[in-house]
Symmetry: C2
Subunit: 173 residues, 2 copies
């Protein structure tokens, strides 16, 4: 019998959405209350904090945000003085985005809160469930990276190691 009823509790898009919504909404309090950031702004900050310097397109590809969201987030963060935009000398369409000192210090203040949140979340699961979740998600990420409009940009990934050197970490001194 091809079921005529869709069991939402077993339906992957539904389950992922419910979880992501609930967690994201809960977690957003941290950066919203603290700094008045919205989600695209936080994501942009977090991406630049991790990778150092990126273009808007790379940020969008990496975090699966639409370019208009990134664009507005960049404007907002620049207005705060948290990131600086530098023109690419060889391609004037491109802007290289980097966190300023203020941006980095905000990032550094948020990282432990975010880490703690993530760990608290995982700590509520049995160790074997943590592993299952992580590996299951990784498999799904991998499956989607091929099919859909690939979720992880190649270029962003390539610059990761270099960025880690130039990014927030380096300025920790």
């Amino acid at each position: 019998m091809a079921s005529e009823i869709l069991v939402l509790e077993d339906f992957l898009p539904y389950r992922l959405n419910r979880l992501a919504d609930a967690i994201s909404r809960d977690f957003s309090k941290i950066y919203r209350d603290r700094y008045g950031l919205n989600r695209p702004e936080w994501r942009t900050l977090a991406t630049l904090g991790q990778y150092g310097t990126m273009t808007a397109t790379e940020i969008g590809a990496h975090s699966a945000m639409h370019k208009t969201k990134v664009s507005r987030a960049v404007v907002a963060l620049a207005k705060r003085g948290w990131l600086k935009r530098e023109a690419d000398p060889s391609d004037r369409r491109v802007e290289h985005l980097t966190l300023t000192r203020n941006g980095i210090s905000a990032y550094r203040a948020l990282v432990p809160l975010a880490s703690a949140y993530g760990e608290k979340l995982l700590a509520a699961l049995a160790p074997e469930d943590q592993a299952k979740l992580s590996e299951g998600l990784r498999a799904l990420e991998q499956a989607l990276s091929g099919k859909c409009n690939r979720l992880v940009s190649r270029s962003a990934r390539d610059t990761a190691s270099a960025a880690a050197t130039n990014g927030a970490k380096a300025q920790a001194k």
Copy 2:
């Protein structure tokens, strides 16, 4: 060394959100192109299709939607003639929502598409990864159902079996 950098690829809220966003956006084409439904409307339809009769509050609790979203989705679906609203005789604040014949036939048309989508998604994973993902998500759902404003409403769950009898399935005849 307490890391000063947050590795987004390992950060649960980030991973869940990226996946959920991408999948949800992709899947939404199915009910959007076909019927011009938006996400709250589809969710309401799917919830009523599965459970038969519910109140707006129950739908919201079950699918983690804000009550204003549910309210507007109900108005929209009622306007299409896809659901009927019946006053509760003993409590005039409450409305019992049920899909009409048209609503059920739309639901029945969408269920196989949704099921196929979910299965296609899972089919891209190795069987053991499917199991890990499902169990990992279940563990997370369970963990959150206790802490947060529990994601699954008790009352909705209790009526599940009864609803399956009265709901879309029964009218399949």
